[in-house]
């Protein structure tokens, strides 16, 4: 499900089936790291679009959480996202990011961090871009299915 009116309406009707939330975490910088920040955002958005297509019926993709990289309360903000989503009834919460800051901080935040090193897609040919994203996404598909099975048992 995407963050739009139609999907949100369907979500409220079919709540018991949709137990997974996906939040893109993107850092924003207007100085030296601007290009890098934009590339990471582009990559994460494409990756999530692919995953959403695969798992539309069980996964809600929220608007991205964007933050300035120097911000002090980054962890507290993330924990708030996790708490809010948990309260809304999501059993599986995934934060997708290319920012290495989040690497290995799952326990501190209370959600699964999926850290994917971004690939500069820049001027890449459409077909190549698609197959690249697809390969990355397939590995993540496995991670998600595994998480679903872990908690189901």
């Amino acid at each position: 499900m995407n963050w739009n009116g139609k999907d949100a309406a369907l979500f409220t009707q079919q709540k018991e089936y949709i137990d997974t939330a996906v939040v893109p975490f993107v850092s924003v910088d207007f100085e030296t790291a601007m290009i890098q920040s934009a590339e990471q955002y582009e990559f994460i958005q494409l990756l999530i679009a692919f995953l959403e297509k695969q798992f539309k019926g069980r996964m809600l993709v929220t608007p991205p959480h964007s933050y300035f990289s120097g911000r002090d309360s980054k962890l507290a903000d993330a924990a708030e996202w996790a708490a809010k989503l948990q309260k809304a009834g999501f059993k599986h919460i995934f934060f997708f990011t290319s920012d290495s800051f989040w690497n290995g901080r799952d326990a501190e935040i209370g959600a699964s961090v999926i850290w994917v090193p971004s690939i500069p897609l820049g001027a890449m040919d459409e077909g190549l871009k698609y197959s690249l994203i697809e390969n990355q996404a397939k590995q993540i598909v496995n991670i998600i299915v595994q998480k679903w099975q872990e908690k189901a048992l």
């Binding site: 079919q14 539309k56 019926g57 069980r58």
Partner: protein
């Protein structure tokens, strides 16, 4: 130039017939066009998208066929990639099924997670027969949609998915 004079009566007759004719045509033409429109539309209905799949290479085992085309979404034009599961049935006809689960729209895969001879949806364990028919007792309530197929230069072409009646 003929020297025959045109009488006032004749002149008025000619001009009135001419102008009246134009006016009548102006009214009738759109009506006729509306009336025949459905007939003309029928010819342009073949909105098929080409794929890279060779028809001769299809077997009785479903294969994934990806195809992409441009889609306009308000002012945003994007390249859409769609997928179909394509195989030949017992009669040798090509069957192209949409991978979109009829429950909540996840993507199903052939023999996914070890479900032999079935389409499997990983989201809520939906199952479909090879024909696309939903297995009772699993969440989906309708069979998988089916693509109309066409062949051009030996390559498969797919239309718009339709409801499946199996």
């Amino acid at each position: 130039m003929s020297k025959q004079p045109v009488s006032r009566r004749q002149f008025l007759n000619y001009t009135l017939t001419g102008v009246g004719g134009f006016m009548a045509a102006g009214m009738l033409m759109p009506m006729v066009r509306f009336a025949v429109d459905p007939v003309l539309k029928g010819e342009a209905a073949g909105d098929f998208h080409p794929t890279q799949q060779k028809v001769s290479e299809l077997t009785s085992t479903p294969v994934r066929v990806d195809f992409s085309y441009e889609q306009k979404d308000a002012w945003y034009t994007s390249e859409v990639t769609n997928t179909a599961w394509v195989y030949k049935n017992d009669k040798g006809e090509i069957v192209a099924l949409s991978p979109v689960c009829k429950h909540l729209g996840c993507t199903v895969s052939w023999e996914g997670s070890g479900h032999e001879d079935k389409f499997f949806c990983p989201c809520h364990n939906g199952l479909y027969e090879k024909s696309g028919k939903n297995v009772p007792g699993t969440p989906p309530l309708k069979p998988l949609d089916i693509y109309p197929t066409a062949e051009k230069d030996g390559l498969l072409q797919l239309g718009k998915p339709e409801a499946n009646n199996v």
